[in-house]
Symmetry: D4
Subunit: 252 residues, 8 copies
């Protein structure tokens, strides 16, 4: 509730149009729904530009169904991440239109088509092992209304495979770079581009990769400016961030 | 050199307008200047949207003067970070117009005014100890042409100090959140906003702060989507990233 | 055995009421029972205010039954943590009244009702994934005689869900704040309250969460005073600590 | 501003006693003072039970004077930590009554005597090297109105030096245990007591002490329940926490 | 495409022998094959001296077959590492000649015999637990055309078992030293030899071995010069590196 | 081969009693047996006072049988650690007299009784979870000929359980202290005793225990002198070390 | 006070030879002296075999003089470690006979000659940089009455320098092995000896040495049995431990 | 002493040409010189191909002079690393011909010209901050007789600066790649080359660079085969390793 809304409410109170107790309620009540095990945040769609996203890991199927139904009662779209088959069945129980994106381990429900926003997102990944994380980013950005172009298996040890895509790199509005192993991809991409690069470290690799800590540190230490980093394996976060970046253009 | 330029060159060669050896040179020579101790990348302004930035730490004053002069011979603006007084004198020797931003430890040279781009950047910092890093971000974004509004000393332990700025948070085009200690600020800000939040951990704090590792990890693990992170104390990186995000809007 | 008791014993010895060898025994014998595999500490109820608690993980079912029986022979209540179904069966073999708290993975036995102490404990958790740890804290504090109110799923990324509970926060005698991910919850809660906050980091999360190390470090680095931290996933410790804090008031 | 205050304000608005714009101001303005470089949180005294505490490290002397004056304009007491001689001079410039506690590196100002609360705090430290941290805890708890008894140099390698104080341990209302090296002290103390133990790891030691990380981890892993931990070298935090714990009793 | 090739192409263009658009294609197209899920790098054989190697872990069997077939269409040899039985079946489906090296977890295909290069590689391992990693190194170096002599179970705690092989150590052209536990082997071997020693830490061990981090750090800190290190358990990398070192001699 | 043996051999050579080539063999051949997969070190019994010990983890049963047979061909005793049932069967195949110590996960073979050495070893463990590691230490010290007395479940949080054993502590010739959690036991024991204390950290615990790293660091940072530490869970190492310490006395 | 002493005291009480209050005193008073800033543990000489040792770092000179005087009032010897010149002056003020061992950074006072115990301690160090730590061990063991033989600069990269000392290694009663860099020395020495090896990691080195953490982990992971480890740079601890080991033999 | 030498000696003994005691001496004495504080390893030149190198840090100037003189009495060349001006004066006192390489912090003495070996070493560094480490590598390889070509300031964020040197990369016999920040350089270089790449991480950078740990891990996790890594800032090690690699070719 912002200042303007407060003012409007107060005018109504001073004019006797709104009883005091109703105004107290308005000022106290916040727009979330308490399911006991979860507090679904319906306000989020307005506040942050997208309905609450369900992180399925560790959630009970019955709870999932209830949460999904609650979100879909207020929103035309739903996204659920880190979902296995059981989670898919649970969401499907809430809405028949649920789709499962296997490689991305995501579920989407589209009661209507997402808005067709422009903003070209380029999604580059270093190795085949990074594809599931990249796909999670793709599904996220797409349900938020953006077009995503993918260049997979373009690691820096075969730099010509990456250089061959210079044109795409220079035409994107935002780039997501996904890499495990040593995570050098965003540094090279960042140096070839003048748009924001969202770097996603992955836990694919072994030994000194340290479960993704190494590419994470690499990306944070990048000698290229214009690179920012999300959590290890956090494809969702990268997709969401790149959608926010592209959306700005639309808004004007 | 992009495909179009290659095509143009080849047409000239096929028409005999450009001798073969000249074309070899064009295709081989890349637009950087080799000063021996440094290779100044003049192409960068076109490729990445801003001339190369000088990281002063550990650089010889004489080298600094030479690098600054080389950059300023191709660019109307110059930014140097992590600069002390000696570095300032060195850059001033290259161009009298150099200005020193003491809190930010930055030097700028403006041979002409930066472009006046829109894109409102909101810069929030948690404690007074985080101000130097925040200032580095501000100076960076400003020389790249953007307006920066600051809210300093608004840590989450006095949440009302932050909530008082909800309006600014909701009107920004991009937010930079700078925090040391436990680094919780971006999580709260990210939950209040629908624009990209660039989080900057700082090394201010002691003990379990681990020289900034703790707020770094905190920010990466943020429960708010729409947050991406740059290196510890990397105000420059945050300023640069936010400028790239805002610039997109301008470009259309 | 304190100074007064020593004095009394010595007077008896000097008066010939207690033979020397009996006094030697009194001074030597300590009130624990050696079961071979475990030394049950019956003195603990007096010394630390609650009988020894059984940590089930890695304990043999037969041993568990024996330990439970030994404790219940001296105490009206029993608490066992990190218990699975097999552990429950083992404790039930010692006493039919055993109850299993599934989400909390705890077993309790109440041969009589716990004392009804005042001291309102408020238990806040950030995500649905943190609920098992929170439940362990609740079960612990309740069998020690305190009332526990819970606010679940109130993470800082939806700060209004937390702010909606300001009244409860300000009326509690002690607060337990449970959070995984980045663990920012206790910093915000600590800033809203003038009672002790016990922070519990959880291992729920991935990547930079580092199995709970990140929220642990976050909580230790909290910019809010009045926050102290227990081990990762240590709901029991938080429940016990908050019970000790509240009990003090009773004692007077 | 709590629900009751909102209700009262609204009644006044509805009765025409308070103009709408004044009510808007009341609901918008939060009780902090913006000094530009710092936002002094005057509301804190009510909200958290003690005025804002100044962490001197890295703060400009001129800023310190201004902040101190601002706090003292609303509060009868002031506490500043991590203070050197220069910080002391700066605070003295704001109020002549400032006292410097050298070992504790703290400054206090007492415009009037602190409230005489009961609540006996026992402060035990393991080695002579831990004394500065212990003193910071003592000064903090004392200015908050509590009596602190100290037992210094009572490490676990000479366990009889600790056992000699069993009586004090059993009569305290809250215990602070400060230890560097391996940090075993709180485990032993926690096992001898039925009151909350606040453990403070210190960075004193070398090698495997890892700048305090080892005693920190030790204390978190303590086999004694009833122990909670604050940050490395955070004597202030321990003193503050123990004061909050003891204060509860007074309030009733 | 190197300078000479560019020159030749340009001459053809200037002489009208090659049409402009064909030249554009040549300059743009890079020699990799895009399978969608993977970009097979056929140029690699020329550029780096060996065809691309397949890292099987996490790859789909159907994808593996396709990748193997693609590589074998351009190369007489194939090497696949971290392969289980399913991976073997997949590669066999691409070429019947596939062989499975069980201990090494490698697959090789030899459409023709590898070149018989000289260069004696000596492969020493510390414990029986290190043998799988050592075998991966052996298979790699052998398919690249080199002879590998092995000395297994020669850890430094039985130094005479190693000293007995002094002659072999002094006759090798390159040495691979594989060790887990504390990883001291390369330091001792490096001090006995005047040829390059490639050190491979293994994750075999427990506790302070830290999954191979300890021998890794040990080898990097080696007091013997002439030692360089590859990733934990990276037998392939060591075999490849030693083959490159030996190959040099052949090339002249 | 020591100096005396070399002298004796050379005298024989100079007197023509030993042919040159035989002497070359003697000086070259070292007393180990190369089984291909393992080099059994028969010399070890003389050099280090006990035959080579088999670390079973990761060893093939067939190899185990062969190694066991090889050791038993030169030694009256055999010890194998980290053994499961399959390993036991394998060793039994080499010698029917093999015994399996289930809790200790050890196998012993005694073709004759070990020497009856004096040297009382006291073995103290903190929790029931530490017993397997303690048992490994016991079995090791016993087959090396020493008497081991055990005090189990005597952690520092119930310090009186430990103080009750002061007499045993003061009569031992060497003490082994086994502890997980925070690992404070050796510090307390070391302060009560004037004999060497061998500390063994265990991986039992959770969260901040970090798989045994915390008690390891604790023990290394111990404020008690006379404490030295072996690897996490290395009961064998502690048993072996304490046997070496006690054996010295016997040797005179 | 042990059982026998308690019995004796009680008999006296029962016979009226000792008044009750005197007995209370005896049972309560423990033999330490409270200097306020330190509690000097005079009982230690009997309990642990050597008077309390002073760790000088961070101690006030005036306090040092007082502590030294207190120790020397009950003991014929004094050892102070981590001492600089100022500490030396402070101890000299307590007793003129104080000697400063510069390389070892130790102070000793010998009011009488230490007991001449046998027990040959062999002290081996890897590099010249490790000598200060080794010297601290030597001074410690010597004031405790043992003979120490030193072999310095015998790292494993020049293994023959170590092998040349095989005889000394086999004749020692206890070995101290000091090493920084990769810390491989104790593994090799442990494999050549049948006596206890005390390993001391040092912080000398750079990069992957991690301030001594690497040799620490190396030594703990040693493939040689019969090795135990003390803290980084803890020469004192190693000297003390080896003295305890050797002393045993004397005692019989 | 190798087998042939042993045989020759024994023949002489059997023929009475060499007395037994002389043979004992020969078999016992090893070719190092014991200076007390250091054991100079004169054999090293033969065994490892270069005389012992002096690591100056922490060495006494007087000791340095003595060590330098000892080495120069047996070798025509000397290399000392990590040297400051004082170290230079010390070495100069041993030999007037000493040269100081300031950027490299190295001292060399050349009593005669090093052998002119072929083997082109290419030395690439990423940033100007990495130059001192690179220079240490250059000085090392040059005094060992090799030609070193340098390409400085060629980081991956300006990939064209690196691609411009493709020809040099493909003509080198061995490449050294020095990089701090994120350390991505060796991965890109390794993918462009078929010769061994020695990667050197540097501690230049801040925050997530972790004093060089990040580029170290990056290089170890490199997705390019043919890369091996030396310690952080270990320019000497890289120069030495590359010289060994190139020397092989010469030897034939």
């Amino acid at each position: 509730m912002n200042e303007e809304q407060i003012r409007k409410l107060l005018v109504e109170v001073s004019e006797g149009k709104t009883p005091v107790e109703d105004a107290v309620s308005s000022l106290r009540d916040l727009p979330f729904e308490d399911l006991g095990h979860a507090r679904v945040d319906h306000h989020r769609n307005l506040r942050c530009g997208f309905p609450e996203v369900i992180y399925c890991q560790g959630k009970d199927p019955a709870d999932l169904t209830e949460i999904a139904a609650s979100i879909l009662s207020h929103s035309p779209w739903l996204l659920a991440t880190r979902a296995d088959e059981a989670a898919f069945e649970a969401v499907k129980a809430a809405d028949e239109r649920a789709e499962y994106h296997e490689r991305a381990r995501c579920i989407t429900v589209r009661k209507e088509a997402p808005p067709a926003l422009d903003g070209k997102i380029l999604l580059i990944s270093a190795g085949t092992i990074d594809i599931p994380v990249a796909e999670e980013a793709r599904v996220t950005a797409e349900i938020m209304g953006h077009t995503v172009e993918t260049v997979y298996d373009a690691g820096v040890a075969g730099i010509h495979r990456l250089m061959a895509e210079t044109k795409k790199i220079q035409e994107a509005d935002c780039i997501i770079a996904v890499a495990g192993m040593e995570g050098a991809l965003p540094s090279v991409v960042g140096g070839l581009s003048d748009v924001p690069v969202i770097a996603v470290p992955t836990s694919g690799g072994y030994g000194a990769n340290l479960g993704g800590i190494t590419p994470l540190l690499t990306m944070l230490s990048s000698c290229a400016a214009g690179v920012a980093v999300v959590n290890i394996d956090n494809g969702f976060g990268a997709g969401f961030m790149s959608a926010l970046i592209c959306r700005k253009r639309q808004r004007e």
